[in-house]
Subunit: 460 residues, 2 copies
């Protein structure tokens, strides 16, 4: 019966492909960059756009819920209190698009090339959460909804979802659900569908190193006054040892050491280091000694400088000994490493290693907790079936390196199962110039979501 229902929705989706794509393009044209205040108007516009699309798709009610930051768009359709409820989470904000000059086409003017959609947010997360809006439309317009559906689409994921936590805590009843369904991750490949069973947490700080109180002539002072850029490089370099091991005291205290057996399963995922290096045009991979690439991304924490700047960075040569140097540094965390605690460890350590000839300031940005998703929940099993239907393959559980801070939040505050059913691919280049998303991924994602609803309804 539900299979039959699903078929109607699948047909609807098949018949409305062009319309679905055009709507996504309209959404991608809105530069909703949450990190940069100059796009504030656009972020709000994206929220309005989504509210309207939810109404058009058939929700009973949709609302824009204001927060201290950017609003959360909420919508729901309750067909039967006794049926399971799927809460769809997604985010309508996107990463900054710079450096713009590296884009082959303007980031906010979506185009299709070689069956891929090119635009900032094409995959992360507009292209992915919008599949749920269209899957819902297909089911609702064909009266084939088999679960209650709730939508919670936020606008601050790329800057830490700070206000979502308050919203979730204050709306536990409204958000009551049997599973939080999220498409904001990637699969191994089109041939090897996978479901994310774990995510890393994040700690993000900005550091400022101050030497002299003004920029100096590097001839008159060079050699006699500490150069804050050299000092910053020394300090950053000292944060890892020659084995790629992070030197912050206590950093690894809560990091779980996995059994060789578990690591072996993890390493069973198809992975070619040669292809990986070729695709990135690097001669060698590099990471923490003693771990494979899959382990380094999946089960080990890491530290990366995401940005650095100081002194003269214009054309030509300027012999300046600058007053200040800056860096943005983030740490990816694994289960049990708490973001706030790691941030504090970093702040303490960075201050402790600052030599007396400079002053340092550390400003924490947003953080997020890591998460492990049950591979034995009704939702996970329903997802496995949905993939089996659409891809004729059982999806592999994977550990992703990225962070979706709110997964831990949902598990904690809503006591919900969370399902990370992502349809992205590594080559989507999210957070990079020329971000893209496969047209096929978009449509097969919609179908898989429709099938999931059918199986999840029965699974309960």
């Amino acid at each position: 019966m539900s299979e039959h229902n699903s078929q109607q929705a699948l047909n609807y989706s098949e018949e409305n492909k062009d319309g679905f794509l055009n709507e996504l393009f309209d959404l991608l044209r809105i530069p909703s960059v949450s990190a940069d205040p100059k796009f504030s108007k656009d972020v709000h516009e994206a929220a309005k756009f989504i509210k309207q699309k939810l109404i058009d798709a058939g929700v009973d009610k949709a609302e824009i819920c204001e927060t201290a930051g950017y609003p959360i768009v909420y919508g729901e359709k309750i067909i039967d209190e006794n049926l399971p409820t799927v809460l769809v989470y997604g985010h309508y904000d996107v990463q900054p698009a710079d450096p713009y000059e590296l884009w082959d086409s303007p980031p906010f003017e979506p185009v299709i090339k070689d069956d891929r959609i090119y635009a900032r947010g094409a995959c992360d997360d507009k292209g992915q959460f919008y599949m749920h809006v269209k899957a819902f439309e297909a089911m609702s317009k064909t009266d084939s909804l088999q679960c209650n559906v709730k939508f919670m689409i936020e606008g601050e994921e790329e800057v830490g979802s700070n206000n979502l936590e308050i919203f979730v805590k204050e709306n536990q009843e409204k958000l009551k659900n049997n599973v939080v369904l999220i498409s904001d991750t990637s699969m191994i490949s089109m041939d090897t569908p996978s479901i994310t069973a774990g995510l890393r947490g994040l700690s993000y700080v900005e550091v400022e190193v101050t030497g002299p109180n003004r920029d100096l002539h590097s001839g008159t002072y060079g050699g006699a006054v500490a150069n804050p850029i050299n000092v910053l490089c020394d300090m950053i370099s000292s944060l890892k040892d020659e084995n790629g091991h992070i030197t912050i005291p206590g950093f690894y205290d809560k990091v779980e050491e996995y059994s060789q057996e578990y690591r072996d399963t993890l390493n069973k995922a198809p992975f070619s280091e040669e292809d990986y290096k070729k695709e990135l045009d690097i001669d060698a991979v590099f990471g923490e000694k003693g771990y494979t690439t899959i382990e380094r991304i999946g089960i080990r924490p890491t530290l990366d400088v995401n940005g650095i700047w100081g002194g003269y960075i214009g054309e030509g040569a300027k012999t300046v000994l600058p007053s200040k140097a800056y860096a943005k540094i983030s740490m990816r965390l694994v289960p049990n490493q708490e973001s706030d605690e790691i941030t504090q460890l970093f702040v303490n350590h960075f201050n402790s290693i600052a030599p007396d000839y400079v002053k340092v300031k550390v400003t924490p940005h947003h953080g997020g907790e890591s998460a492990v998703v049950s591979t034995d929940s009704p939702a996970f099993r329903a997802a496995e079936k949905a993939f089996k239907d659409g891809w004729n393959k059982k999806p592999l559980p994977t550990r992703d390196g990225g962070s979706i801070p709110i997964v831990a939040l949902f598990e904690k505050e809503l006591k919900s199962d969370v399902l990370l059913m992502g349809f992205g691919l590594d080559k989507d280049a999210i957070h990079s110039p020329n971000e893209s998303y496969g047209v096929e991924n978009f449509f097969r994602g919609i179908d898989t979501i429709i099938r999931f609803h059918g199986h999840f309804a029965k699974a309960e």
Copy 2:
């Protein structure tokens, strides 16, 4: 007799102070930044301005000599072939003014505050070379010239004077002189006049470190792919050891070790480390172990990062693992260290320490040779007398940390004595925001230059 002549010129200078200052302001309003192509028109305008002022001041002929880069302004007045000839060298180009936001008043709108002229180039070198134009005017308008005078004012000093060398080699006869007189350095203080007897050389390179072929998501790849910013920090950090000693093989091979006796004389120059730290607002000085601050600046080479950039440097947080990171690095050199040789040592070393998981590119910018000036030349003795007249003190010989590459060039190509009679002060903040020059320094400089001509005429 010459004292009498000098007096007429000194009076003329006294009577024309306002006009002198207004002219300097007109020159300072021209943003002749040689490092940045977008100011090209202004650099050429500055050259025309100077040619006209030389004519107004009374030269027999003035010309704009084109080069492969920016032109050299040449002017001369030969009163008697048998009299000594003073060749005045200066530069009309200035350092870039950024960061603009740190200026209290616009860099190219000169203002006087607390008897100081604030503008880019106020001291380096417009304010200083223009003293010679006005001193010449004072002597020529009062028929009290006692030496032949030649002017060679270039527009590429801040970017390496590359074309000046060709010009000098091709115009040896035209530039024939008994001393090259340069005001582009500083004195110890108004109470302690000094003459620069040594300058450091310069080697300047730009480095590029490339990791993956595109910016990556630091979650999906962080820990498994080398981050070019982290790697650049490691490489820069490794260029100096814990004693501030530069680790480039062969870097110190030609560095002279001075006798304790010589070092003691050097350290006799009045210097208060407390005042120095207070003025720069630092808690401690830092430099090569085993040397005093005066020695670190005067007789030791050094390495400074003048600029660094890579990744996301906008507002907020972006979790990017960038494809590239860059730095501008300069080395100050001491006598016997040849700029080209040191640059090559750097290039070889930097490439040799590059790990196999990144690609590095090193691009040399301009360089310059160090110089030692005789403290026993007729010119130096005449300068001592000139300071004695005007300041009632014998000037101290000092070793400056800065570089004026062409000093070595003049000594080599023109076989000339060079005299570095600078009237700047450390607090002038050249190359920094809010560069300034004391109004008193400007006028006392003009007087001292006039007196120098008188003594130098007799010294021959």
